[in-house]
Symmetry: D2
Subunit: 91 residues, 4 copies
């Protein structure tokens, strides 16, 4: 997975930010923070997960579908993975 | 656009169903139907538009990215279109 | 449904715009326009339906839940309708 | 926030499951797992966050809007919080 390797640091930084946001929600519920604040934080995590998904989908399209020199079989497999991810993601 | 041509009838049938659903919402508002009923109908249209989008995205991936024999330039253009559509669609 | 009545013209204008967008998609498919263009139009309809849903949900919350003087039973019914619509809408 | 308190354990269990899913994504990227697998895991987190949001929204509607005996001011504030959360959530 060349593109995971080449974007590893950036992807890990995004994922760790999301981990931090989820930990903040755990603290907010533990401390019985206001419902409005918790709703706001959860909507924020959903947005961040969306951003991570956008980046992964774009990389996947560029590296496993559009990149010159891929085999027809590799492209077909990547297409199936992409279609499954989009269907689940847009739900 | 070979795949639009080959799926034309199926795509048009989907779009006309959505047109019918939207016309039903127009009647419901004109007749001051209950808010709950109108909310239900609008959520239904959103689901139907999602289904249409899924079908178009899958066709686009298969026909303009994964299909054997495409030029690198054609794949690159299709990749850009797909990434833009996914970003906008998942918002 | 007082608030449907009071916002009728604005709501109908929104719905008619969506009808126009769906009709444009029908023409684009009939004329075998590019896949990228059709994807763009469908993502646009989804956004417009989202805007309509936001307006309806806000009106429903204000008029059937938060408005002073409502009965407990009326609020309870409106709460059930709202929860069902949100669940379906966010899918 | 009575309802956060009364549902605390269930909410914390959900949030900790999401934390676990995010940690699994971090490991998958660190270990350069396949792109398809990571896409699948991220779509799963998005779904789990959606489930958490649904539960919080429903509790908020029932406890801060529909519950008998609330003041008009309290309902108005809860309505504003809810509308803001729905707008951000459905994006």
């Amino acid at each position: 997975m060349a593109h995971i390797k080449s974007h590893k640091d950036a992807l890990l930084a995004r994922v760790r930010r999301i981990s931090g946001q989820v930990a903040a929600i755990e603290r907010a519920i533990t401390n019985e923070t206001t419902c409005g604040e918790i709703l706001h934080q959860v909507a924020g995590v959903r947005g961040a997960v969306g951003g991570l998904m956008d980046e992964l989908l774009s990389d996947h399209i560029e590296q496993h579908l559009a990149r010159p020199g891929l085999s027809d079989a590799a492209r077909a497999e990547a297409a199936d993975e992409l279609i499954a991810a989009i269907r689940r993601y847009a739900k």
